[in-house]
Every structure is written in C-alpha cells, then in structure tokens.
Amino acid sequence: MLRRFFSQAWLSFKGQQSAFSFEEILLFKVSYPLITLIFYCVLAGYSFRKSDLTHWVVGNSFLLCINTCIFSLGGTFTGERYFGRLRSIIVAPVHKISIILQKGFYPCIAAVLSVMLGFFMGSLIFGVDFTGINPGLFLLITIVAMFAATGFGMLLAVLGLITDEMNFILNLSSYVLMIFCGANFPVSQLPLAARLFSKVLPLTRSIEAANMLFDKIDSGRLTWLLIGEMGLGIVYCIIGTIIVKLVEKSAIKKAALEVF
C-alpha cells in the first residue's frame, strides 16, 4: 500500500514537473516565495514602523509554505478535469482521498524545502536572529502546520469534484488565510468575530507557536497550540473523508464531473 502510494505520488510529481529543467524548478520555487516574503515584510515595516520584522518573516514564510500545500492539494481535480483525466479517476476503484494525498505529497515536500530556503534568505535580508531558536521545536511546529494545511487542502480539493471554479476558491482561501491567520495582522487586533473565525483556520496556532520561539516560550501554551493545530487538521481530514463520497455522488447526479 505504501509502495503504491509513493509510486503514484512520484508519477504525479514527475508528470507535473518533467517539462522543466532543474534550474527552472529551483528558480520558480525559490524566487516566488522569496519575492512575496520581501514584499510583505517591506509593507509591514512601513505600515507598522517597526525595525524588527521577525514576526512577519516567520508568519509569511509559514503562510507561503502552507499556501503552496493548499494550492497543490486543493487543485488536484482541477487539472485532471481540464485534461480529461477526471473520468478515469472517478471510474477507477481507487479511493478519491488517496488521489488527493498522492498528488499533493511531493509538491508539499518541495514547498517545505523551497520555502525554508526562502525563509533563511529572507531572514538574512531582514536580520532575523536564529541563535536562540530551538531547531527541533521549529521543525515540529512546521510539521504540525503542514498536517493542518494538508487537511484543509484536502477538504478544498473535494470541492473540485463538483465545481470547476477551484481557482477562485483557492485564491479566496489564500487571501482569507493572509488576513485572518496572523501572518500579517496580529490576531489580537482583529474584531471578535474575526478572532473566532481565525481559530478554525489552519496556521493561526502554528504562527503563534513559531513566533513564541523568538520571544519567551510558554511551554503550556505552546503544547496547547500544537495540540489545537493537530486537532484541527484531524477534523479537516475526517470531514474531507466523510464528504468525498457524498460530493462524488452529487457530481455524478448533477453531471458536474465533465462538460457533457
């Protein structure tokens, strides 16, 4: 089962990337996150008149990484629909959730690596001090954030079975995360309803936890944040797994899988 998962994941990744050279992939994967990171950090620096941009570097790095994961997972069925392959997937006995995870696996790994690189480069540019950071804890927070993002991306991907407007949905999700998860605006400054909304979004807790590493670590609060983020990821995964069959049925009923 694991062998099949990795085989499918690799073939999917190969199918997406084989047209590009290594240099092109590297340039695209690193330059885009880096430029975006610089943009938001410069914007924050001018808007909030702060010289210490650590919080923005951390928050936006996480956001970029997670956004890439959400887009990779969330767009699973969009490409398949566009190239006429969705029917082969639907008609095959394979579980549709496994397709989402297989297709998202390597792009997510690539996202982590490339954004990490962007993160370190951005940190050098904006002078973020890493000396007091616990690398093990930082990695743990990243993995937990990735898990929650995977669950969120999976849930969005399911919608791809019933709509061909996934680009709109994914872009909307991306901006919602940008506004509400604390990467660019402190959650504490948001209105009450928005603060509550931020709690059901992936990343809010991870960003808070990651920022804590650069300030004073409150172990109890940090553990609670990580458990909360994990729990949220599990909830997203459960909802995605439950609704995928229902959405598939609805799409088959409404003839939404293809243009008929």
Binding site: R3, S7, Q8, L11, G15, Q16, P93, I252
Partner: protein, 323 residues
C-alpha cells in the same frame, strides 16, 4: 449466456439555466427512455447521430453519470448506488487525445493507471509489456506522450482501457483519430477480446466498422431507440428499397428536387468528391425509376451510374430520417 448490461426505460435529463435576472430553465432530454440488454461475450454497437444520446448512455453505464430515471445495471449491479461492485471489472476507451498524462511516458502512464486499479506490481509489469506490444507502442514506450502523434495517443488510450483486463469494455468512437492501420489494429483487438469472452459496447460513426464487428446494433435517435437487431436483420428491415449512386458534373438543388419528385423515390442526398458530385437515391424496388431518372439527368454529364446493395449506412440513414 446471461445479460451483463441491462437498461430499461433509461432516461437522463440535463437542466441548464439561461439569463441573469429572469432565470429560465431548459431541460434537455439526452436519453429518453431506452431499453436494451447486452449478453455476456457480445459485441454490441450503439449507433446514432451526434447528440443522439450515445455518449450519455455510455457515461451512465460506466458509473460516471446517474440516470434521471429507469434502470441501468452492469454485471447485475446498479451503476448509481452499487458502483463499487462494478468499477473494478469494467473500463472504457473514449476517442480523442485527452485523458492521458502528456508529460509522462506511455509506460509510466500505464503504471499510473494500473495503480488506480490496485493491480499487483508484478502482474501490472507483465500486463503493461503485453499491452504495449498489442497496441504497437513497445519501441516508443519510454518517450514522453507529448511527443506522440494523435494516432499514438489513441493507441495509448486503448492500452489504458485494457489495463485492468476488464470483463466489459465500453468504447466511445475509439477509432477517431486513428489511421487505417491503427483502426484495423483496434478492430483486431476487439475481435480478440470477443474470443476471450469479453463483452464490448461500442459507439462509432463508421458503419462498416459496426457491420464488421457487432453481433447486434442499437440505433438511437434524439435519445430514443429506433431499432435493435443484428446487422443482417437490420438490412432486411429496409427490404423493398434499392439504392442508386450517380456521379454527375453538377448537382443543383433544383436537380435534387426534381429527382425527389420521381414516383417511387424515397430519399435523395448529394455530396462532392474530387471526381464530381455524387447523388445517392433510395427508391422502392418495385418501381423502375431508371428511365425517368435518365430523363432528369439528361445533359448533366453522367460519369457513372451504380445500383448498390443495401448497406448498414442505408438502414441507418433511413431510420434516422424516418424518426
């Protein structure tokens, strides 16, 4: 033999809405109450014009589309509601260049699709080699599909459809885009599948293909079944009708209309090829129209005049026109 496909009073409607303010619903009856059965090991043809409902029927049979009403069973299971029992044992081939990964090789494509069917790795490897050989892609199996010609992509589609060794294979215009050799290869594959006891349901616009391959043929028009029988019996349906093909220098609308007015003529159509204009005339066998026809065609530079046997195409055209 037992029925592996059972379709009874099957209907499928598509609802579209028009307008921004005053939304107007429009219902399209793509399939409008068709009934047929396909026996195990049979090659069954579904013929009809574009938009007749053939593809919609196939999509319902392969569990890709739910019926609006009626019964649609494959291998004894409902295609909507019990699809998990069907999917492992069927596959489909649709014409055209979509549906494969263009940035993977043919071999990688087949590995990918084999994984979708949970086929064991050793079995899949062996089968992939056999299928590549069968469709004549062995020597190009490791090239990216984006470098393939249209015909080669279509051969890969055929290979993809055979990857799970299906009991029933659904083919929607599978020879579209294939050169004559490729089309012959596909017909040979279909015959081999029949020898192995597999069931094939196919749609095609090529009548000679249906005539050569199918045990039985259903003709559908505007979502309704208008005929269902063996190719020979279908040809007997238009007994009493004879066919004439005339090659002339010019075929004006007025000329066609004059021929239509000849007593005993059932239908007239015309087409143009590099030699000139061909006029196809169907007339009652007991009416000798040749004398009157020659009078009408006087001074029209007749290059050839042929009396023809009734073909499946004649039957098809007549049935579709009548309905």
């Amino acid at each position: 033999m037992s029925a592996v496909i059972e379709v009874r009073d099957l209907k499928r409607e598509y609802i579209t809405t028009k307008g921004w303010v005053k939304r107007k619903k429009e219902i399209i009856h793509a399939v409008n109450g068709i009934t047929f059965e396909v026996q195990e090991g049979e090659i069954f043809g579904l013929l009809g014009q574009n938009g007749a409902g053939k593809t919609t029927t196939i999509k319902m049979l392969i569990t890709l589309l739910a019926p609006t009403s009626g019964e649609c069973k494959v291998l004894g299971f409902r295609t909507f509601g019990e699809e998990d029992n069907i999917r492992k044992r069927i596959n489909f081939i649709f014409g055209g260049e979509m549906g494969v990964y263009r940035r993977l090789s043919a071999r990688d494509n087949l590995k990918y699709f084999a994984n979708l069917y949970h086929i064991d790795f050793p079995v899949a490897s062996k089968r992939i080699e056999e299928i590549l050989d069968l469709v004549g892609l062995s020597d190009k199996a490791d090239l990216l599909v984006e470098t393939y010609s249209k015909g080669m992509v279509q051969r890969l589609q055929i290979a993809r459809g055979l990857i799970n060794d299906p009991d029933i294979l659904f083919m929607d215009e599978p020879t579209v885009g294939l050169d004559p050799l490729g089309a012959r290869m596909l017909r040979d594959i279909i015959k081999k599948l029949k020898e192995k006891g597999k069931t094939v349901l196919l749609t095609t616009h090529y009548m000679y293909e249906a005539d050569e391959l199918c045990d039985r043929i259903a003709i559908i028009n505007k979502g309704k079944l208008v005929a269902l029988d063996t190719p020979n019996n279908l040809k007997h349906m238009v007994n009493g009708i004879s066919s004439i093909e005339v090659l002339v220098g010019e075929a004006s609308e007025q000329l066609i209309s004059e021929i239509k007015n000849i007593r005993g003529v059932k239908s007239v159509s015309a087409s143009v090829n590099e030699k000139g204009n061909i006029i196809y005339i169907k007339h009652k066998s007991d009416c000798d129209i040749s004398g009157t026809l020659f009078d009408v065609l006087k001074n029209k530079k007749i290059t050839s005049f042929t009396q023809k046997e009734i073909t499946l195409e004649d039957v098809y055209i007549q049935l579709v026109e009548e309905n």
